[in-house]
Symmetry: C2
Subunit: 142 residues, 2 copies
């Protein structure tokens, strides 16, 4: 299955928080841009807050970036909203038969390969900062 759209929504939110940093970024306003329900936005912001990417406060307009956009990369965001623990993008099958030479060793073998593939993906995400995303968004708007 594919990676949840929370990731895309989270990037959208963060970009909006920076671009509209002068305005009041209520969950309803953000939901209007993302085109979803305000509660969905609040849930994602909650995850971003727990990860230390945004500061939140109850009451009015309570979210803002916790760091400058240059210091937030997409791997930070990915990890914040992807609740699967790191190293588990790929799922191994459980309990292969230990009496079989394949079953006995397959998990260790796969783990190595899976970790490499996952790391390669994450390294690409880590290369891209929120800064660059925002630049690209604004540029596209001309």
């Amino acid at each position: 299955m594919s990676i949840s759209s929370r990731f895309a929504v989270a990037i959208h939110i963060l970009a909006l928080l920076d671009i509209n940093k002068e305005g009041r970024n209520t969950s309803e306003f953000i939901a209007g841009s993302v085109n979803t329900n305000p509660v969905v936005i609040r849930r994602v912001i909650g995850l971003l807050g727990k990860a230390g990417l945004v500061h939140t406060s109850p009451g009015v307009g309570g979210a803002s970036l916790a760091r400058p956009p240059r210091e937030i990369n997409l791997l930070d965001v990915y990890r914040a909203v992807q609740n699967d623990p790191p190293g588990e993008l790929f799922a191994a099958h459980d309990n292969p038969n230990p009496k079989c030479p394949v079953g006995q060793n397959i998990q260790g073998t796969l783990e190595t390969v899976f970790k490499q593939a996952e790391s390669a993906m994450e390294n690409e995400l880590a290369k891209v900062t929120l800064d660059q995303i925002i630049f690209d968004l604004v540029r596209g708007d001309r």
Copy 2:
């Protein structure tokens, strides 16, 4: 969510088909090694067959590798069993608001980044052949 365990099961099956190429690889036998239901095995073999990685025939013990293990890499296997079309490991959110500068351009921006990350992962998978997997399995058995 994580990538379905069909991928791990498929690799297991292919390795077993090669290692036990002298024996009768019935779906029940393979299921014993993978530790699942024979129908699950037949389903995965069906996908591998459609992708041209194995030859299958109804009746007894009907699956064998269609190519030598050196000519099968894990990206082949991944694509065979992952029914999501390529380029959609990451899901974008639909219908962002076109009236908003962020909503208007976010999809194009994300598409580029997502494709890069996905490609990086797939390149790692493409580097690993079934040959190497089998070597690693057999080596671990000593």
